[in-house]
Symmetry: C2
DNA sequence: TAGTGGTCTAGACCACGCT
DNA sequence: GCGTGGTCTAGACCACTAG
């Protein structure tokens, strides 16, 4: 399969010329594009995984689309199907792609039903999870304050889209959320666009702005409601609220959203599984 | 290797001598399950995984111990090493075992350093995570109330161990926690034992009571401090606290602990990664 | 029937930890 | 040097989907 790999664990013996100086360490032909230093050993399937991730990032395969079959990718990358499989296994575990037996492997999308609540951990104490009603209180462009700039990895003063919304379950205001998005990416984002769109915000971001969220990091605290929160959530000042701050990342671990949510947890709770 | 298998992924066809009734205990399990394709098809590696899990549950291999090598297990179960590998891969992903290249595969334990904070998601806002100081306020045996009995899957009125403790970071009381444990399992659990022991409670449970926690489910809320919590945490009544309720499970998804923690989140936060 | 992912096997060599 | 887990390959067959 790879008759010209000097040192990879392929069946074929080395033979060939005296390239053995580099023999004890790394690479296959794959990594030659990147400058390769000695002690960085990376398994083949990790390199394949990186290449596939690049194709996802570059938009060669878009969310919801079918990617080439394992056999095709094996041919393209000149490795065995098993190696491609292991790479895709990890991408699947990280929710970057979704495998469907008999059909193929698809790029993950926030449009499909099973992803609707992927990042919303607030569940009702009784009954099943419903999709909330959205009311957008404010949408405007501002200059990034220092704190926001740092979290989004942009410059202080850069344009950011600021959004304030209230989410209700069964007509009960439950979440007050402030969001900050890099203005450079979310150019045409307006209140109208947000109001028209029904469904998860991340699905809209994906379709309208080509930005797919792949993971997020949250920090939770208990806080007391201030006057603004109290009014918007129709509760008393000082009521305990669950403060959830989130940074979301797209391909390449690039931060593209910061949000601060205040969750009313009288009839809901934040669910988390530890393992 | 198996040139004559018509439709079963199992190596040996059942057959063989009639004297293998004992020897075929595991074997027949495997063959049988794999043979009844119609109603429930379970891959071989899943069956192997179940068998290994049984050995963990039965105590054949105890926390911290080395389990047989992949080759040995492959021989024992009469499957290929690759199949055993896939089974162990999943067990490793679920943190039931820990693989160490060059050494072997070990049963996971709460004693090792890397597991110290596995179930404690409260992190300091600045600095690195420290292990808290424990003060046990109360340890006693009570009759299980309905709510507790339901969560622990025991009968109302059964004996349960009730524990109240305060955990401090750098001398600052930060966590007030109530715990309920099935009395039948935690027989000799006393305040003295808890006070003597330094380190994670789950490590003590493992060593003293043979109960290893493998996963947990948490529900979070924001609440206001009542008089008792205020006094023990040295804060004002009504201060917002993060209420964390947890059910922990041992092998076989058996619930063996319920706890309710009140976290002071002025200088700490609950960290969670979404993916 | 064809194509895809899913499972299983067998054998090779690599990286690591210990003796 | 040896045994362990880790990587890679090759080929077979199974399960699922769709034309």
């Amino acid at each position: 399969m790879n008759p010209d790999l000097p040192n990879s664990p392929v069946p074929e013996p080395v033979s060939q010329t005296g390239l053995t100086s580099s023999a004890s360490y790394t690479q296959s032909n794959l990594a030659q594009s990147a400058t390769q230093l000695a002690p960085t050993f990376s398994p083949l399937y990790q390199q394949i995984k990186a290449l596939i991730t690049q194709s996802l990032q570059s938009g060669e395969w878009k969310p919801g689309e079918l990617i080439p079959s394992e056999v095709e990718l094996a041919v393209r990358f000149k490795v065995s199907q098993g190696t491609v499989r292991k790479a895709i296994d990890e991408l699947s575990a990280e929710n970057l792609v979704v495998r469907r037996q008999g059909k193929g492997t698809f790029v993950a999308t926030h449009h499909e039903a099973r992803a609707q609540f992927r990042f919303l951990r607030l569940k009702p104490d009784v009954g099943i999870q419903q999709y909330p009603n959205n009311r957008f209180v404010e949408v405007k462009r501002i200059r990034a304050p220092a704190e926001i700039a740092k979290l989004l990895d942009i410059k202080v003063g850069d344009s950011v889209v600021y959004i304030r919304r209230v989410q209700s379950f069964d007509g009960v205001p439950t979440i007050l959320e402030d969001l900050w998005l890099p203005g450079a990416i979310f150019k045409g984002l307006t209140a109208d666009l947000l109001n028209e769109y029904k469904g998860p915000m991340y699905a809209l971001f994906e379709t309208e702005f080509g930005t797919h969220m792949i993971r997020a990091s949250e920090q939770l605290r208990a806080v007391a409601a201030d006057a603004v929160a109290a009014e918007l959530l129709k509760i008393d000042i000082g009521s305990p609220l669950l403060n959830v701050e989130r940074v979301s990342y797209t391909y390449g671990d690039k931060p593209v959203e910061f949000r601060r949510g205040l969750y009313l947890t009288l009839n809901h709770h934040y669910q988390n599984e530890l393992s």
